[in-house]
Symmetry: C2
């Protein structure tokens, strides 16, 4: 893409002025429409140093209302960023519906920074992560505009020289810039490879010849205005910005899954054995947590299950053995308005553990295919996409190095009734039972279907489900404790 690019495109001052006078008032109004229609927009600028990315971005934002956009400049990752999945720091900044996020350098630059730190990830891994990330955003209705500004070696040398000549800007020229210039051809090839492998239907690249600054700025402004217009028209027509094709998704190998009705939920354990085993497992877990921490392995424990089946009790028995500096219980309730204005998985980014830490999710992203499905909050038609997105999300976590365990804490319908009644009788437990629990109970069969579909579509080998038979709380607690300790042992 880059080698054949005609870098000599120019625009004269008068043509530029005429175009700008036409575009500026348009951009103001287009942003209002984007806001009104709730379209999230990503505009990112990539390209070599001194290609004019920042100038183009600066010109653009002057015509936007500051209440509707944010600019993020990508720098070296911070220590915390390095202890999270590499895309995490970018994904967190995805725009809310109706707002525009501009990136001066984005995950593409971030990928290069990460690679130079040699964090053991391979090139296809980065590309896969990026394409999945951008496609998930696009599937959620996000308009993604990617601009790559490019200049010739000669022009770049000239511009860096000018920066170095002035006292006020000298600090902006780094040794990396000089190195880059020396290896111009090789770098062009590298960039070309990245551009080609991420030039997707849902997020195509706009490559801009930027030798003439006026031309580059005008090309960006014109493209942004045109793309916003197109997105607004599409959205007004209630059509999708981009038609999702299943073939574009990663296919994951699924393990066979048994229906929930085939499990014997009445398994029990003797009191004596429970006490002895629990103590042994907790002592073991305490040591394993310390080793997990020192080896910097992140762990994600997902708890889903029937109401009153004992998720909380299981979590408490695990938590008791853990150092509070190294774990957190992440409760998942109904999403807030701010969370609802982002892609579904966005809110779970905030609860992910750092390396060496454990996040225990009390309910999880599976809410989408459980409660949201049963309550009709999402159309059935997006279920396949939802399973895929969840698998992709967990695969990213797995590739990052996380150990993922997913527990379905299962009590029978009769056992649930007994526990509901017990909760209502005990003052210190009354807060645990609400009208909603009773309503959910009425939908028992719909949940059974949703649960079995969930098992079938998300029982991957990197993040398999464990059904915890929980009519006996003691049996259940031993089973989860044992599963957690064994998973850590296998990993270390």
């Amino acid at each position: 893409m880059l080698k054949e690019l005609d870098l000599n495109q120019k625009m004269n001052k008068q043509a530029y002025k005429t175009l700008m006078d036409e575009l500026k008032p348009q951009l103001v109004l287009l942003q209002q429409e984007v806001k009104r229609l709730g379209i999230p927009v990503v505009i990112l600028f990539e390209g070599p140093r001194a290609a004019g990315k920042v100038t183009a971005l600066a010109e653009l934002i002057l015509h936007f209302d500051p209440r509707g956009f944010r600019v993020h400049s990508t720098r070296e990752p911070e220590p915390t960023d390095l202890r999270m999945p590499w895309l995490w720091r970018f994904a967190k900044k995805a725009p809310a519906r109706g707002s525009i996020t501009l990136f001066d350098n984005s995950w593409y630059f971030g990928m290069r920074l990460e690679q130079s730190k040699k964090r053991g990830r391979n090139y296809p891994g980065y590309i896969r992560d990026i394409n999945a990330f951008e496609r998930q955003l696009a599937d959620d209705g996000c308009l993604i505009l990617k601009y790559f500004l490019f200049i010739s070696k000669k022009e770049q040398k000239k511009r860096l020289g000018r920066l170095a000549a002035s006292k006020a800007t000298r600090w902006q020229v780094t040794t990396q810039d000089i190195d880059y210039l020396k290896n111009y051809k090789r770098n062009r090839e590298l960039m070309d490879g990245v551009l080609q492998s991420t030039d997707t239907q849902w997020a195509p690249w706009h490559v801009i010849p930027a030798t003439c600054k006026r031309y580059a700025r005008a090309a960006v402004m014109q493209s942004v205005a045109g793309e916003l217009k197109r997105a607004i028209a599409t959205k007004e027509a209630k059509e999708k910005l981009f038609e999702s094709v299943p073939a574009q998704r990663t296919v994951f190998r699924l393990l066979p899954a048994r229906g929930i009705e085939t499990y014997d939920l009445g398994l029990t354990v003797a009191d004596e054995e429970y006490r002895r085993e629990k103590k042994k497992l907790q002592t073991r877990l305490r040591d394993l947590h310390s080793m997990l921490y020192s080896k910097k392995v992140p762990m994600i424990l997902c708890f889903e299950g029937n109401d009153a089946a004992g998720k909380g009790g299981n979590i408490k028995r695990i938590a008791r053995a853990l150092d509070p500096r190294g774990y957190a219980v992440i409760p998942t309730g109904a999403p807030s308005p701010g969370e609802l204005s982002h892609q579904y998985l966005w809110r779970f980014l905030h609860g992910l553990p750092r390396t060496g830490h454990i996040s225990i999710f009390d309910r999880t992203w599976y809410g989408r295919v459980l409660v949201e499905r049963v309550e009709g909050l999402i159309p059935e038609s997006i279920l396949p996409r939802s399973y895929d997105e969840i698998n992709e999300f967990e695969y990213m976590l797995h590739k990052w190095g996380a150990v993922i365990l997913k527990f379905w804490v299962a009590a029978s319908k009769d056992e649930q009734l007994l526990r509901f009644e017990a909760r209502q009788a005990a003052p210190e437990k009354q807060w645990k039972i609400t009208e909603e629990d009773w309503r959910n109970r009425e939908k028992w069969d719909a949940y059974q279907t949703a649960i079995n579909d969930m098992f079938r579509h998300t029982n991957t080998d990197f993040a398999p489900w464990t059904v915890v038979e929980s009519n006996s709380k003691q049996y259940a607690r031993l089973k989860t404790l044992r599963a957690v300790t064994e998973a850590i042992e296998q990993t270390l």
Copy 2:
């Protein structure tokens, strides 16, 4: 406090068990009450290494519902933290109403970490910041429980030795720990000094002898339960947790302030001079921004003013001269529910610039004493406290090294009417004018009073107000541009 402490207090197993059996169910219910009444709670643990802070914290959280609390472990500050006011990373984590935030080591430990980096701040500065921060939280209804766990030198040596002996925990013992032990007496004196100077009416210390772990855990649990009960009873009686006394506030020297009615808002500038001067000032500002960046000076520009007086236009003329990597416009709208559940100034923490950056606030924390006052959203009785809190906030920013400019962009009532009408006539400006603007206009006189009171109480020498006469937009733009460039020149 520490030297005289009886470190040999003990509790036997049976007494501990009896007490715990009594406290555990209480804690569950107390947390529910805290949630119901919307009381924010801070529980922090400080003390030397191996004193048992983490064990006490771990025991406590087992009895809380994870939906109502969060644990923060204080570590070395990250690069971003070091580019913000030192308390920033802690203040961001303050609890929302009805939730509990537990700190395993807090700003007290943070202060030591910062001091060891010799960032040029003095001890009284830290103490002043801490006391102001805690008092602002307490004034906002927050219950602050501070526990200091202490052990003898002998006991500490024993515990560190035990950690070092096991393969699983050896990594937990650092050279700092050994150093600390060597200078036990001196460290005890240092800690004593901090305890005494921060043992305030609104956030007293609870010093716990922790040689006997059971005793320490029981003492913490009993204290937490007792304090929660007290806070709940006080809140139920609609009384304040702590009665704020004006004498506990810092008194700032205020510069004389003229009433807004004494300004000649009709000042003008010739077209020719405007164009020439604007260009000159913007070119100068471009260079100054670069120097500000390289010298790592943070700058905060606050824009307040009458509707349609031209805040946006002023901001745009400044922004045009700035590198978008180094500034952000922070628009301030009505607070979200999440923001409303925190102390008033909390939400502005997120918009503060890093060192070397510029934050341009389009409306600010002065909303409290302007719109919130005029609309009757706050009682007049909290105005004195609000002015004080704002001054303290700006003083903290000033001491951190920030250059703070506050602009009142003033147009006359007649001029405002002309502009409102012009906005309604132009399609690309209609979004800028709402019913609310017309309603505000009816309250013109109430605003004049609020503005003059604001000038009188917040015109400090470290963050003075600049009135920008704005009936002529050109005059106003030159005045703000000039004020910004001059302020940077004086600083560098």
